[in-house]
């Protein structure tokens, strides 16, 4: 990585050579650490999701001394567990024309030409090893009667390359990584620290050397040191309060390292998933995703006539009573080539467009996802084996039977493509600090394709980081164990204690959740599916008010140095508020529409996203300049040498 302060640019250390040779060239030339030295090198891995668990396990296997942290009571409960649909790989088992190049190309195109070519190609290249690895661990992927692995299709692809384990792919992959991790714990190469939350990064002489964590059971602050630190703490989608993320998913670790000098890339790129169960009530705490795989067989529609839409909203007409010719299968109508399998951003905006135009069902903010034709074509049994657990989940939540009446769905915040900026080696702008999985920004550009996050998390953790981190650690073999008595640790701990003390002493009137909901409303209204200049300026203003209200009127019961769930939430919210502001700022600066970032001022006459390649073909990397100061932006120019940049077309 190298930054140029004058031109405000940053480059990513991409290896030389043809696209298909870069990763091999890199591996051939990188430095390695010899086995006897590995034991003397400590690596902190924060997070036990697919990215963190796989990295910790792989580093442990290599012989490094690994310290692995998570918030939950067990590594197996990381948010990755909730992923439903599947994981992509370029195996071409279906013989339908897939290849590493095609997976690479689909990912670049799906990301709306805002991702780094070299990283994405490497991702596609290692994708096949992931499937081999998982099968060897005992991951029970779905199989065909012949005993070979089965595949399904996901949005943004015309081939069938998604591997799955019923509707529980994330669970099975995470349990695979967790088992590999557990094996290393047993061997003593990995030490687990559960129910610990990282609250700061410790930087010594410009290098990442440790972390400060809060023990969530005792409430005490603890210090841990290492030769390198890896952040695999997931995405920051919960800035919107309501999202498909788990309740404890947060952006705090990413935010802490940003404040310590790591750059935050493309914060405004957030993915809104088209198929979620719509919002039900004021006490709603999270939104439930209905897997994208449902779009393989389900057809999305709204009534063609406004009167019908009004009648179903008023409960006077049932969807099953609406005749075929009075239904508008708007995705099939607008995008005949991809139909219901257009990428997520396209499907989400199309739903919003119909609902805003007055054709929404349910509360007005919902569309139908209908399995009537699939049941007729395939039979109820087949539909049940494919989606049974999802249908059951839907029925439990909504109290409606999707075999008989169409599901209702609406877009919701799901994933954040933005994150900690990393170079080709997954190293941040702080030497010795790495970031993997959803926490980094690396591979998905402005929009992530379905089944690609699991692939990226495991690629980073099993097959990329364990190589690239050695290039750094090879120069650290003479550095003795880092002492946690260094003044930098003491100072970081002091700052944390002060922050906790400050929060506890506010003793105001508002609960953390009520403030988080307030932030969420602003984010959804102005930094959500449709953004414009006026709204974004308003959002920045409103977020500043939430921040003021939070720091003057929040109420946290209990003690600061004790088990205290409200304090945990408050610490996370304090960061979400600031992340929200940076998201709005980034969205404001990006005067174009691309992928998940839709600026209403920039659209084609048909309402499609309109990129401004001459002005915005770069990664926006934000640098923290201090409390209440405006951050500075550095640019990583994106060069497309191997694909031709085009207007995305799914018609």
């Amino acid at each position: 990585m190298s930054t140029d302060k004058k031109t405000k640019t940053i480059v990513a250390k991409i290896p030389e050579g043809a696209l298909s040779e870069k990763w091999s060239n890199y591996k051939a030339q990188q430095k390695l650490v010899n086995p006897s030295n590995k034991r003397r090198l400590d690596v902190i891995v924060v997070g036990t999701g697919l990215a963190g668990a796989s990295a910790a396990a792989a580093l442990g296997e290599l012989g490094f001394n690994v310290l692995n942290f998570c918030i939950q009571d067990s590594p197996r409960r990381a948010h990755s567990i909730a992923a439903q649909g599947g994981i992509n790989a370029a195996k071409n088992y279906q013989n339908d024309g897939d290849s590493v190049y095609r997976l690479f190309y689909d990912t670049i195109k799906g990301g709306d030409y805002r991702a780094r070519e070299a990283n994405v190609y490497r991702l596609a290249e290692v994708s096949n090893s992931i499937i081999d690895q998982c099968v060897a661990q005992g991951v029970p992927f779905a199989r065909e009667y012949g005993g070979l692995l089965d595949n399904r299709s996901f949005g943004g692809a015309q081939v069938s390359r998604t591997f799955y384990a019923r509707g529980q792919t994330g669970q099975q992959l995470l349990l695979g990584a967790y088992s590999a991790l557990s094996r290393q714990v047993h061997k003593g190469s990995v030490k687990l620290y559960t129910r610990r939350e990282m609250l700061d990064l410790v930087v010594v002489d410009g290098k990442a050397r440790g972390i400060i964590v809060r023990n969530l059971i005792t409430g005490k602050i603890e210090r841990y040191s290492a030769h390198a630190v890896v952040i695999g703490t997931g995405g920051y989608g919960n800035a919107f309060f309501l999202s498909t993320n788990a309740m404890e998913s947060n952006g705090s670790a990413a935010w802490q390292v940003y404040k310590k000098g790591a750059y935050f890339a493309n914060p405004c790129y957030a993915q809104i998933h088209p198929t979620c169960i719509p919002v039900q009530g004021e006490m709603q705490s999270k939104l439930t995703l209905m897997s994208e795989s449902l779009r393989n067989d389900g057809r999305i529609w709204v009534p063609k006539k406004k009167e019908d839409a009004q009648a179903v909203r008023a409960g006077k007409l049932k969807p099953t009573e609406i005749a075929e010719e009075d239904r508008d299968y708007y995705l099939e109508r607008r995008y005949p080539a991809f139909g219901n399998l257009v990428p997520r951003d396209v499907a989400s905006r199309a739903a919003k467009e119909r609902c805003d135009a007055g054709y929404g069902v349910g509360s007005g903010l919902a569309v139908y996802l209908d399995f009537k034709d699939a049941i007729e074509r395939l039979g109820k049994d087949v539909v049940e084996t494919r989606y049974g657990n999802l249908f059951q989940m839907y029925e439990k939540i909504v109290d409606d039977n999707p075999y008989e009446t169409p599901m209702m769905i609406y877009p919701a915040i799901h994933y954040t493509m933005g994150g900690i900026w990393v170079d080709y080696e997954l190293q941040t702008t702080i030497p010795g600090l790495y970031s993997i999985g959803e926490a980094n920004f690396s591979d998905h550009g402005a929009n992530r394709l379905g089944a690609s996050a699991l692939m990226q998390g495991l690629a980073d953790g099993y097959f990329v980081l364990p190589y690239t981190i050695q290039n750094y650690l090879a120069d650290e073999i003479r550095t003795p164990r880092i002492s946690t008595d260094l003044p930098e640790f003491a100072e970081a701990e002091r700052n944390i204690l002060e922050r906790i003390e400050r929060l506890m002493s506010i003793k105001g009137k508002r609960s953390v959740d009520s403030l988080h909901k307030q932030l969420g409303h602003t984010m959804w209204d102005f930094v959500g599916m449709g953004r414009n200049k006026k709204g974004l300026l308003k959002a920045i203003d409103e977020i500043k008010q939430v921040k003021k209200e939070f720091w003057s009127n929040v109420f946290i019961p209990g003690e600061g140095l004790d088990l205290n769930v409200e304090l945990e939430k408050a610490l996370r919210l304090a960061d979400f508020i600031e992340i929200g502001e940076l998201m709005a700022r980034d969205a404001l600066h990006r005067e174009e529409s691309c992928g998940g970032h839709f600026r209403e001022e920039y659209q084609t006459p048909e309402g499609e996203a309109l990129r401004q390649d001459d002005k915005f073909n770069y990664v926006a990397c934000w640098k923290y300049m201090g409390e209440d100061k405006e951050p500075e932006m550095y640019k990583e120019e994106l060069k497309y040498e191997f694909v031709q940049v085009q207007q995305r077309n799914y018609k």
């Binding site: 396990a57 939950q72 009571d73 197996r76 409960r77 567990i81 909730a82 195996k91 090893s129 081999d132 998982c134 099968v135 060897a136 661990q137 005992g138 029970p140 199989r143 012949g146 070979l148 692995l149 384990a165 529980q168 669970q171 099975q172 967790y178 088992s179 557990s182 094996r183 559960t194 788990a246 404890e248 169960i277 039900q280 009530g281 006490m283 709603q284 705490s285 999270k286 439930t288 179903v312 008023a314 409960g315 919003k352 609902c355 349910g362 509360s363 007005g364 919902a366 939540i397 109290d399 409606d400 609960s511 959740d513 009520s514 959804w524 209204d525 019961p557 088990l563 769930v565 409200e566």
Partner: protein, 264 residues
């Protein structure tokens, strides 16, 4: 600009609310003496989930300046295994095949009294209120709940075909979310169903078969060591398992365990 529209149930049925009474176990720490406390909560939407009802109660407690009730949860969609709770005498409540976070208030009546307790078992000490320590489960997995392969250098995923019914059966076992309801439901506090699910999943697959007997022995030994009780085949675990894990897996575990003994 489309804002969330609240108070507009998506099913078009008018949103209903109920008033309930709660008896909740409160306990400061593992060694502290706990007791039930009673609360009244009005205006609970029947569309709310059980945990959203507890959120509502906690908001009420916070507004009164009191400490909220501590409970574990995360995904709130029945997959992470973080939520627990003994509700009206059943782990994960009276509804079948779901976790507490998937339970909805429409299953309760207006004016009903709901009793909520933590998992009660020797293997799971209470941390605070409804939160318990389940780290023993991690220790059991660490003792052998894996296939001993390193990362990389693995043959192609399709090199060994696996009959679909076998893969499906392995998946049935692998669906365990490690919540601990089986232990909480068992009068002996046995972790047999949890251990059996993992042993069985891996023993069924060719990749895991190689070390099946060794694995079974190591995991059972660890379970005993950690103070979990014996299995006396009452079947309570299967009945309360939110993922419907079958006790036939326990039979497979016993077979592998015997094989290991035989070899000793």
């Amino acid at each position: 600009m489309s804002s969330y529209k609240y108070n507009n149930a998506i099913t078009n049925n008018m949103e209903k609310t109920i008033n309930i009474n709660l008896r909740i176990w409160r306990q400061r720490g593992p060694k502290a003496k706990g007791a039930f406390e009673s609360y009244k909560l009005d205006g609970v939407s029947t569309d709310s989930s059980f945990l959203e009802m507890l959120d509502q109660l906690n908001e009420q407690l916070i507004s009164e300046g009191k400490e909220p009730i501590v409970f574990d949860h995360d995904c709130r969609e029945g997959i992470c295994g973080m939520c627990s709770l003994y509700i009206n005498g059943h782990p994960h409540g009276p509804d079948e095949d779901i976790t507490t976070c998937q339970l909805h208030m429409r299953k309760f009546k207006d004016g009903e009294t709901i009793t909520i307790e933590p998992w009660r078992s020797h293997g799971f000490p209470v941390i605070r209120d409804l939160m318990v320590d389940r780290s023993a489960f991690d220790k059991i997995i660490q003792a052998g709940g894996y296939v001993s392969v390193n990362t990389g250098g693995i043959p192609d995923a399709n090199a060994i075909p696996i009959p679909k019914p076998v893969a499906d059966m392995a998946m049935d076992a692998a669906a365990c979310i490690g919540c601990g309801a089986c232990v909480a439901a068992c009068k002996n506090g046995s972790a047999m169903l949890f251990v059996a699910a993992k042993v069985s999943q891996l023993a069924l697959l060719p990749q895991g078969k190689v070390e099946a007997a060794r694995r079974a022995k190591a995991m059972v030994q660890k379970m005993d060591e950690l103070g979990f009780g014996n299995c006396t085949n009452t079947g309570a675990c299967e009945a309360e398992c939110p993922k419907n894990i079958s006790i036939t897996h326990i039979a497979r575990l016993n077979r592998e365990f015997l094989k290991a003994k035989f070899k000793d």
